[in-house]
């Protein structure tokens, strides 16, 4: 019992099951999905489109209720939004009628707390948004907006950061830059991060572990350890180990869609997993 509590995962997903009621009947999005995320770990969740990645993340955030199963934060079941959990949404999701400062203050206004000015200034400096506090979201590039969203999420000092395909809308250079930023922030804060992505490269670059979900209904198909040292340089990312791991995960996701002859010599076309 004592050993079990000592190893309580930061986030424990236990047989998470989610059914959506739609006009054309029930849709099973998640089916007994189980997964543990340890403290200070970065875990990426990848899988084919519509596999329930986002559903899983939103359930972790407490914004969605599971149909069955449970998700525990530090051993306590999540039944609604929790202050220890920060979320970075798809696209930046800034409020367009507020400037950056006001956007970052928004969580504090809702909670009726005083914002920690020094910490926010530190974060803004960290992501390179010094002096942009008076700008409105429309005046910023997509990458800058997403950085501001990361600052907003970290401003409350969450112990878990959930990131829902945060960089999907960015161009690949900006995306790599943002990945490096997330790594830096993680090295700095060691916040537990759960990261949803379509990009296997992004998942491998960022994660300690990559979780592959099956096609709907989402179940955990495989979990890969990513043992490469940090910070992960371009050289590391160009090694054969990384390449092989990337391909293995691609095979898992593409699955039966790949003809049996291809696994020997994976070609670039397989990367396109969208139907």
């Amino acid at each position: 019992m004592s050993t079990a509590s000592a190893r309580t995962p930061k986030l424990g997903v236990q047989a998470a099951t989610k059914v959506y009621q739609t006009g054309s009947g029930d849709l099973l999005a998640l089916d007994h999905c189980s997964l543990d995320v340890q403290s200070n770990e970065i875990v990426s969740i990848v899988g084919p489109s519509g596999c329930g990645k986002t559903t899983l993340l939103w359930s972790m955030s407490g914004l969605h209720r599971l149909t069955a199963g449970s998700i525990l934060l530090d051993g306590k079941e999540i039944t609604g939004p929790r202050p220890e959990i920060g979320i970075v949404f798809q696209e930046a999701n800034l409020l367009p009628w507020r400037n950056l400062d006001a956007n970052i203050n928004f969580p504090f206004e809702i909670k009726g707390e005083k914002p920690d000015r020094a910490w926010i200034a530190h974060l803004l400096n960290r992501v390179g948004l010094d002096g942009f506090g008076g700008k409105f979201p429309r005046e910023l590039s997509g990458g800058m907006q997403q950085r501001a969203a990361i600052v907003r999420a970290l401003a409350l000092k969450p112990s878990v950061l959930l990131m829902d395909e945060p960089f999907g809308a960015l161009d690949s250079f900006t995306r790599e830059e943002m990945n490096r930023l997330v790594e830096e922030i993680w090295l700095d804060t060691k916040t537990t991060i759960v990261f949803i992505t379509h990009s296997i490269e992004e998942a491998i670059f960022l994660s300690d572990r990559v979780v592959v979900l099956t096609t709907r209904p989402g179940r955990v198909a495989k979990i890969y350890n990513v043992p490469f040292p940090r910070p992960r340089s371009l050289e590391i990312m160009a090694t054969k180990e990384v390449f092989d791991l990337t391909n293995k995960i691609k095979m898992d996701i593409v699955g039966e869609r790949v003809r049996p002859s291809t696994p020997e010599r994976p070609s670039a076309e397989i990367v396109r997993i969208r139907p």
């Binding site: 939004p81 999701n93 409020l95 928004f106 809308a169």
Partner: protein, 286 residues
């Protein structure tokens, strides 16, 4: 990300002047309803003024050359003269009309806004109420004025009620459109910080609805002006509408047109007022 937002700009901005876009696009909705773009550059203003001079000068010239009698169409110069000459007599009536407009509009706008905010929270109630709102919007409230006069006499009361009835549904239907613009990601954001329903309303729904609310207020105010003047023409001894009937019955056409000029100025002021409010508070849109 901003690619999707940019689309409406193309369909709207015909001029293609990049410098003006920032101001013009800020209130696409308002300017669309008013049938023209917003603030213009100096050269454009000069061109508009030049056209005005040519048209007004041309009318003046044509009326004088062809000896058109005053009771058919007075020349612009005599309208302007009448405006200044008669203004002390017209001014109190302008005041009465403004009182009716402002108080009726305030009542209608407040009721319309509250109803829109409440109704949109309950989709089922909204479905039930929608057809009745449509009837209120499409029925010219002017038609009720004789009835209101029978009940409330010739004072302010029937007019203020008519203005409120005309403005309220316009404000409501537009505000409801605004409140219905739910961005689930933004609401989820607020909820993730534990926001209450009321906090979500004030911090997410209301700001998102604001551009449409302003459109509703502007249309409501202009409909209110129409209704106030119309009600004054139906009965009662004061107000700009009463001046219109009185001057036309006495064939005092320069004075008649002077009142028309005052009314169109009022309309333009209403538009400019809401345009400026929109520019200040709703320019984040697009």
């Amino acid at each position: 990300m901003s690619g999707g937002d940019a689309i409406p700009e193309f369909s709207k901005a015909k001029s293609g002047a990049k410098s003006g876009d920032g101001q013009e696009v800020s209130l696409t909705n308002l300017s669309a309803f008013a049938g023209g773009p917003g603030i213009k550059s100096g050269a454009e203003v000069a061109a508009i003024l030049a056209v005005a001079v040519v048209i007004i000068g041309g009318i003046e010239l044509a009326l004088r050359v062809f000896h058109v009698p005053q009771y058919i169409m007075p020349p612009p110069s005599s309208i302007v003269y009448a405006l200044f000459d008669e203004f002390p007599l017209i001014a109190p009536h302008l005041g009465y009309t403004l009182v009716e407009l402002v108080s009726g509009f305030a009542i209608g706008a407040i009721v319309g806004l509250v109803m829109a905010a409440v109704i949109t929270q309950f989709p089922f109630a909204e479905k039930i109420v929608a057809p009745y709102i449509l009837i209120l919007v499409t029925t010219p409230m002017l038609a009720l004025v004789p009835l209101l006069i029978l009940r409330f006499g010739f004072g302010y009361t029937p007019r203020i009620i008519a203005v409120a009835l005309a403005a309220g549904p316009m404000v409501m239907i537009n505000a409801a459109t605004g409140f219905r613009r739910v961005d689930s990601a933004k609401i989820a954001l607020a909820r993730s910080y534990g926001a209450s329903t009321l906090q979500i309303f004030w911090n997410i729904r209301a700001p998102m609805a604001l551009p449409m609310i302003l459109v509703g207020l502007m249309i409501g105010a202009i409909f209110g002006l129409l209704t106030a003047v119309g009600a004054e023409m139906v009965g009662g001894g004061f107000g700009l509408g009463n001046r219109l009937t009185s001057y036309s019955s006495m064939i005092q056409m320069p004075q008649f047109f002077a009142v028309v000029l005052i009314l169109s100025t009022l309309g333009i002021l209403i538009y400019v007022l809401f345009f400026l409010i929109g520019k200040k508070w709703a320019s984040w849109e697009t």
